[in-house]
Amino acid sequence: MKNKTYQTFDEAVVDIPDGSVFMSAGFGGVGVPRNILAAVGRQGAKNLTGISNNGGTLDAKVDVGTLIAAGQVKKMYCAFTAATHPSQVTPFVRMYNNNEIDAEVIPQGTLAERIRAAAAGIGAFYTPTTVGTELAVGKEQREINGRRYVLEYPLHADYAFIRAWKADTFGNLVFRLTQRNFNPVMAMAARITIVEVENDIVPVGELDPDHVHVPGVYVDRLVRIPPDGIWD
């Protein structure tokens, strides 16, 4: 089976063209593909569209906000375009307020399901979330079995940036605890999936087939996080 291991993050992202759409996983600071994002920052692709739970945090860590602050991102799809507390003005929020970046705010469950729809070849789906709110305005709605639903469409991406706990050389992935979060659905949704791995990438056959969270057929490039990589 194909060995999808790359030696460096820079190699793994070198061909990402300007204008690409990327998904970046992670939640609450866990399972964030910080090494890949740092490499994309060095690589410098511009006019990117991002799909992620948020647009970065106020801590000094590399995240989607790093690419946003560097001016590499033109639009974000995310569950937060403002912080819950007005004092937390991230670079993303500041740039969004200044109209330097476009953004669409999407309820987190709808965001996850739109990504899953892309991964599952679903053309569109009806969800009860947002009914009766301003986020449903202008969207197609219908009543099904006495309940109102809003029509939502898949979110597709060229690249998924993923962080895993274990992997084999074919790209079978295992996550640890809430590191899982958006990682599996994003890995399965994108056209090209790039993964940073916290443990040594093992030969095929070493992972138990029942413990694999993402089959290797979804994965294109794997990089082991080096000792001097970004760990937290």
Binding site: F80, A82, T84, G132, W165, T178, R180, N181, P184
Partner: protein, 226 residues
Amino acid sequence: MPEKPRLERQPMCDRLAMEFQDGWIVNLGVGMPTLCSNYVEPHKSLVFHSENGAIGYGPLAPPEKADRHLVNAGGQQVTALPGLAIVHHADSFALIRKGMVDVTVMGAYEVAENGDFANWRIPTRKGGGIGGAMDLAACAKRVFITLEHTTKEGGPRLLKRCTLPITAPGVVKLVVTDLGLFEVTPEGFKLREHAPGWTPAEIQACTEARLIIADDLREFRFRARA
């Protein structure tokens, strides 16, 4: 406006947590609602669910027990309880949308007597932070709200109709404020328990919506803390 003492945050959240029933799946919003998990009754077994797919996690982790891979919806490190299961984000919200969450507790800027509430966007600021709140509000079996009874400026938060963009229409069942416990009934807010020293008239004076006074109105029930 009287300057009497109001309820502290922990007793407010304790009071909501007293309503949780054995076996319930509970989702606590970021901020004040997480205090609900400090209220523990040994005969009740609750399952705490967080949006990032932890089902059955435990209290906040002390530093020596923290695991960098296990956080709640607020990004705080929590402990694993026996029976913990993990799902990915799409499956976590599948559980929410299926209506499996027995109660979601959230903070809010405003609650209205028709059960609407608003907690995600202030139109004077661009954008909003919706997170998982709309999914939870639309789909959980019960929405409980915890909030200060009045704004910093003393304005009311329990309103006839929300003035801010709402999170979900008509879903709130129970509200706790620093002045009392309010059930949302088809007729509006029913004051069931009041903060010590506060009369219904004094509470009504801080409230835009017209309050219904419960026949069995009583003083706020605190838990007996260990």
